[in-house]
């Protein structure tokens, strides 16, 4: 287990490093001078040159990359253009809001998706199964930002059941949770469908397995077979899928934060683009990437802990 974890950690470091290289080369290769982009059309040549030197853009490309690379690993993501504050600090201020949003999305999808998928698998072929199937496909298909806007329209604007904008009063947990309901549902609704489908499919696969047939042949109670013998195996691909899903939820979070005017990393990046605050954009993208890789690592380790076959693999 230890060596498995170590190997996965090494792989994660390699992925993050390569992602940094990709991000850096994308910035470097895409036409356009970051300093010029940041300052806008009315800047003078002298101003641009000054910013270029400040951002280190006058140095050779490999020095630039090295500075970027070592800086990023030590938590120095540069300084943002407008207020000259460290990018890392600005991003970290906004991160908790995004994490809360994603945690909300995951809660919806796990709390509803897993029982729904399990139920559909056990009642395979019934009307309930079919309705669950169609509904899951439907919520997966519709993009989260459309769901967000329609939810806003129906529950906040028309019915006025839930607040439309903001993240709630700081310190008032109830208010914050009320403000979280609509955005987290917009982020997590599609994932309820994904997880229900995934759990259903892997449950059906496991229920067909020879060892389940053996368990039935020993007359074990159906509940024991469903939950202890089948679901413990069927849940494993779902955990991996959730790890991957975090990435897509990060994307959906951008929309949810914009639509519901919530603070968060997505809103931060979007605003940074409008103000051409380019170091802030790359810094925030890098943070979300690292977050995504870390969560995937966590998902793999959880699978490892749950599955004795993985656990014993050295």
């Amino acid at each position: 287990m230890f060596s498995y974890a170590l190997k996965r950690l090494g792989l994660s470091v390699a992925i993050v490093s390569l992602a940094m290289l990709l991000l850096f080369s994308m910035i470097y290769l895409v036409p356009g001078d970051p300093a010029a982009v940041a300052l806008g059309p009315r800047a003078t040549d002298a101003m641009r040159e000054a910013l270029r030197i400040k951002m280190g853009l006058d140095q050779p490309v490999w020095v630039q990359f090295w500075n970027f690379f070592t800086g990023a690993w030590t938590g120095d993501l540069g300084r943002e253009v407008l207020s000259d504050r460290p990018v890392a600090q600005v991003v970290m201020e906004q991160l908790p809001y995004t994490l809360a949003l994603i945690a909300g999305g995951i809660s919806w999808s796990v709390a509803i998706g897993i029982p729904l998928g399990c139920w559909a698998a056990v009642k395979r072929g019934s009307w309930a199964d079919r309705i669950v199937g169609v509904l899951s496909v439907a919520v997966i298909a519709v993009p989260s930002f459309v769901i967000a806007i329609y939810a806003l329209l129906v529950f906040a604007v028309s019915l006025r059941w839930l607040p439309a904008i903001g993240a709630g009063e700081p310190g008032d947990l109830g208010d914050q949770l009320t403000h979280l309901i609509l955005p987290s549902l917009a982020v997590g609704l599609g994932w309820i469908g994904y997880i229900a489908r995934m759990v259903r499919a892997s449950m059906l696969e496991v229920l067909e397995a020879q060892h389940i047939r053996t368990a039935r042949a020993f007359g074990l109670p159906e509940n024991l077979i469903t939950f202890r013998y089948a679901l413990t195996i069927a849940i494993l691909p779902t955990v991996t899928l959730l790890g991957v899903g975090i990435g897509q939820m990060l994307s959906s979070a951008v929309f949810a934060e914009i639509v519901f005017a919530r603070p968060g990393v997505g809103k931060l990046v979007y605003d940074a683009i409008l103000t051409r605050n380019y170091p802030l954009v790359t810094g925030a993208v890098l943070v979300t990437t690292v977050l995504f890789v870390l969560i995937n690592l966590l998902a793999d380790l959880i699978v490892g802990a749950l599955d004795p076959r993985v656990r014993s693999r050295l």
Partner: protein
């Protein structure tokens, strides 16, 4: 010896019209598939015949007609510049469908080639490519789009590049996994023992067995591509105004959601219907042709 003689078309590779008709009938037998097919055909028809279906110009500004609610004259109402939303939705469908087909085709071609190389090539190359795929996938889609557009500026090309970057790693991985499995299969070993070249093994023995499932999965990805295009246009990172796009209409509507909700509805409706249509159709195609894929992707 000529290629033509050495490779007569095999029975399996010949596609016949009758087969397509048979397949369509099997899809139509499923209520969900029929529903999906109709939605998709309506959307494609609307986009193709947009010029004949309405009397309005998609980009013609008409201040007198601003903010009109849905009526017989304007089926979906008008926006803040007095443009007919129904017309803009039809024309927006052209953009959405074009991006979906074009970028999916590019992603597929690149994904298949990379996947075959990763699966059949040397081990180190496979590991390197996997690492690369994982790194690209580790950027959340929208973040990747945001970073790219910040520098290159919003455009349709940017949308296509984002879609390709998002799709290729997944397609390549699927092809790679299947190629790896097939590489160990006895019929590929048998081909090796007969002296077939790697190119021939990939073309004759591997490709026909991996391409079918991938095409079905790709067809199920079309809604995702449409969502990416609409999403980027919603954020103002896709097509530039005044070109009509569903995402842009949705954004117009969002800005004025309290007073004129029909604009947001007009922008969201085609996105919902199209993604649902393609998804239902794709699901049915998969169930009909490749039940083994169920629950994947």
């Amino acid at each position: 010896m000529s290629e033509a003689v050495s490779n007569p078309p095999s029975m399996a590779q010949r596609l016949r019209l009758g087969d397509i008709w048979k397949a369509t009938r099997r899809v139509l037998r499923e209520p969900l598939g029929a529903f999906g097919l109709i939605l998709v055909l309506v959307m494609i028809g609307g986009a193709v015949f947009a010029d004949w279906l309405t009397a309005y110009e998609p980009n013609k500004i008409s201040p007198r007609d601003r903010f009109q609610g849905p009526s017989l004259d304007h089926l979906l109402g008008t926006d803040h510049l007095g443009r007919d939303l129904f017309t803009r939705v039809l024309h927006g469908g052209r953009i959405a469908l074009w991006v979906a087909l074009f970028s999916t085709a590019i992603s597929l071609s690149i994904g298949i080639v990379l996947g075959l190389i990763a699966g059949y090539g040397p081990r180190w190359l496979d590991n390197l490519m996997l690492l690369l795929f994982d790194s690209i996938k580790s950027f959340p889609t929208v973040m990747l789009a945001l970073a790219l557009v910040t520098l290159a500026g919003p455009s349709l090309t940017a949308v296509v590049i984002v879609v390709v970057l998002v799709n290729v790693p997944g397609y390549a991985r699927i092809i790679r996994t299947q190629t790896l499995a097939l590489k160990e299969s006895e019929f590929v070993t048998a081909a090796q023992s007969m002296g077939a070249s790697s190119a021939r093994i990939l073309r004759v023995h591997v490709m026909p067995n991996v391409i079918g499932p991938l095409l079905i999965l790709a067809s199920m990805d079309i809604p995702v591509v449409i969502a990416i295009e609409a999403g980027m246009s919603f954020l103002g990172l896709g097509v530039r105004p005044p070109t009509p796009s569903w995402g842009a209409i949705l954004n117009d509507g969002f800005t004025a959601i309290r007073d004129t909700p029909w604009i947001a509805i007009a922008g969201g409706l085609p996105i919902i219907l199209t993604t649902l249509g393609f998804t239902f159709l794709g699901e049915t195609l998969r169930d009909v042709f490749d039940p083994r894929l169920k629950g994947r992707g």
